[in-house]
Structures are given as C-alpha cells and as structure tokens.
Symmetry: C2
Subunit: 221 residues, 2 copies
Amino acid sequence: MPAIPARNTGAHVVYAELKRRILSLDLKPGERIYEPAMATALQVSRTPLREAIRRLISENLLEQQPTGGVVVPVLDEAEISELYEVRAAVESLMARNACLKATPADLGELHGILARNAALVEFADDAMQQGMALHARIALIAGNSWAGRFHEQVASQMERYRHYTNSTQRRRDQALAQHRALVEAIAAGDPERAAKVAFEHVMGARDAAVRALSGKNGAGS
Amino acid sequence: MPAIPARNTGAHVVYAELKRRILSLDLKPGERIYEPAMATALQVSRTPLREAIRRLISENLLEQQPTGGVVVPVLDEAEISELYEVRAAVESLMARNACLKATPADLGELHGILARNAALVEFADDAMQQGMALHARIALIAGNSWAGRFHEQVASQMERYRHYTNSTQRRRDQALAQHRALVEAIAAGDPERAAKVAFEHVMGARDAAVRALSGKNGAGS
DNA sequence: ATCAGCGTACTTGTATACAAGTACGCAGGC
DNA sequence: GCCTGCGTACTTGTATACAAGTACGCTGAT
C-alpha cells in the first residue's frame, strides 16, 4: 500500500547530523537552536528539521524550555552520576540474563574482546572502545531488546560527558580486572555473581567519573 | 526572545489523545495509522499529527514499518517479560537509592500507602493502583530522574498488557507482603536488602503475568 | 480463463506560506 | 536621566500545496 522513500529521508540525515554535533559538543550545552538559521545551514526546510529536533527532544538530547525554544541541555555533575547508576542497573540485568543464554560461541567472542581489551589497556580511547564493545556484546547475548534500547540511550547521553572524564591508568587496570571477573561469572553460569560484578563495576566507573569531574570542578579548562 | 503558544499546542493535545487510544487498546495492536484520515478525525492538519506520531514512535508506542507506514505495535508475550525485567532492574536501583535518601516524612508516606494498599487488597484494580503509587513514591524518594523517566516509559508500555494480566487474589496477597518487606528494608536503611526485595518482587510479578498470559494463550477471551 | 503490463490513485515526505504572540528597542514625557 | 508605553521584528506553530514513489486494479492478449 504505502510508499517509502528508501529510509534515507532528509529528516533522518538531519537527525544524525544534529545528534553528532550534540554528542561531540560541537553544539555547546546551553546553546539555543533557531529553526530558520539551522534549516538553511543544513540545506533543508524547517519541516524535516523540526522532525529531527522533536525526536532529539524525546531522547533528551535536546530540551524544550518552558519559556519556549529548544536548547542543548547543560551538563550537570549530578546527572552523570544518575546515568551511571541506571547503566549499572541495566547492565547488571543484562549480565544476569547473559548467564542463562550464552552459548559456547558467545563465550569465545567475549574472551576475544577481553584479549583485545587487555592489549589496549594503556590507550585510554581504545580501552574505552573495547570496554563498550564488551558491554554491547553482553547486551546482545542477554537478548532483552528493551534493556538494549535503554542502555543505548544512556550510553549516548554519557558520550557528552566523556570529554571531561578521562580515565587514569589505574582505573583502566581495575576495569580490565572487573571485565575479566564479569566474563568469568558469565562463563561459570552464575547469574547472581555476574549481576553483582556488573553492578559494582559500573558503580566503580561512576565514582571514578565523578572524581574526575569534581577534580576539574566543572568543565572548561 | 522567543514566543511560546502557551504549551497547549495542538501537537501536544494530539499526542495525549493518541497515547490514550494506544494504551487503552482503542487503537488495536497491528492497526495502521493513515495520516490524512487521522488528521481529519482529530480536527487538525497533518503537521501537528505527524509531530505527535513521531514522538510516539520515539517512545515505542508506535512503530515505523520498514515497508513504510506506522502501525500500533503488536503485543508479544516475550516483550512483556522483557519489560518486567527492565522494571525490576530499575525499581531495584530506586529502592537502593531510596534507602539512602528517605526522610522520616517519606517513611510515613510509604506506610500510609501501604495501609491503603492493605485495605484494598481484594479489589484488583484499586490494589494495582495503590501498588503503582507505592512504586511511584519510591521513585520520587530515590531522586534519580533518569531512572524515573525509564520507569515511566516501561509503565506506559505495560499498560497495554494490563487488560490481559488480571491478578489473582493469591498474587495480590503475595505482592502486599513483598511491599511490606520492601518498605521495611527501606525503613531499616538496608540498601542491599531493599534492592533484592524490589527485584524479586517485580520478577515475581513477571512470572505471574506470564502465567496469566500463557494461560489464555494470547489475548482474546 | 489466466497472466502480464501499464495507468491511476493513494501514500508519505518536503517546502512554503500564513498566523499568533512575545520580547526587545526606541521615542517621548516626567 | 530615567521610566513607561507602543511599535516592530523575530520567533515558533499550523495549514496547505507540491513531489516522488509504490502497489493495486484494470484491460488486453494469448
């Protein structure tokens, strides 16, 4: 019946571009978005731009002000803590589920990621990437699509803070050890232990991030 | 600088109305939404209608089909289980946090809800309402806005399934006892215990719901 | 009678034109 | 010099007109 324009609609492109700019802090927290100016800048009309904006508002990557107008949400030290807590809860659940569903092939995959993780432990960015890859894989194994959705949303949000939460070498070593313990628990098929390890691992990351942020006392330099 | 039309925009009204119809199953799962027809039915143009639709898609209350067109998502026994699991994880976190933040006034409030809950345990709908009230209150006390957001979203989703998951008297008695244990743990300031009780309480609700659904083997009568 | 090919109609996506309302600036008076 | 009141300009929200593309139905031929 219908007619679909190939899923490459302008609104999707604009959404992706705006999201990229928000997460990369190219659009600065607190900055307001004016529809006509942004529309001309992105070479589209206001209609698809508005569609993208509304979607980003739904995902809490933009904020509609009570006084009107949309702004990029400001960063807030309390919020990053909340995000880590929710992520801890969700990842804990996923670790628990992964215990029950992991196949031998899955376990092999996890060990492979772990090995790459270990090799890259001294490079902050790569270590972070591999760490996220491990969690993403566990999310896949857990097979709870709702948990996956929320996890992804939280990860997006945290992306904005990442620029200010550089990890220390000590923290990365600790994270690697916890990742090992997590995979071990999953391999052992011990859901309670996996859940507990995952929870405390992410809560540890929270503490490290909060410490890093409060050390700089905000954002700038 | 800006101009705001009082936050009573047509798009918001349409959003609320569509959401109501979806959650009440007035719009049936699987049903497709045609923009022109729905727009005339709701007395607005396609523009605000589309805005409402896109927002509902973001909240997973509508689904954009790969072939084009948007439909009301179909109900799926596996999904309700996933929703309960995520809710368990989130409520577990909130119970943990509530332990650390609850004031004496909060505890009094919780006990009050508990008393009303006990008085209504034989009426399925009211018991459900009071149960949700308890969890909502705990969410408030926990003070994690992200957890609150996700919890609300999950609760909305589950609303659609509620019509098919009537609780038994036995299950309601059990839930009441678990609610008591939960409040007790919060009052005692024992985060681990509160988290565990909350988690297992919701997981118990999951099992009951899945049993109720599979008993009917689907939906109808 | 059945199948193939084309035309039409209906869908969604986009652009633009229009409406309403607010905040800012400027001018005039005290 | 400062305050007040009005006018203008700019914002967002809405409607409508336009474009593109697909699926269905109809007609004709085999």
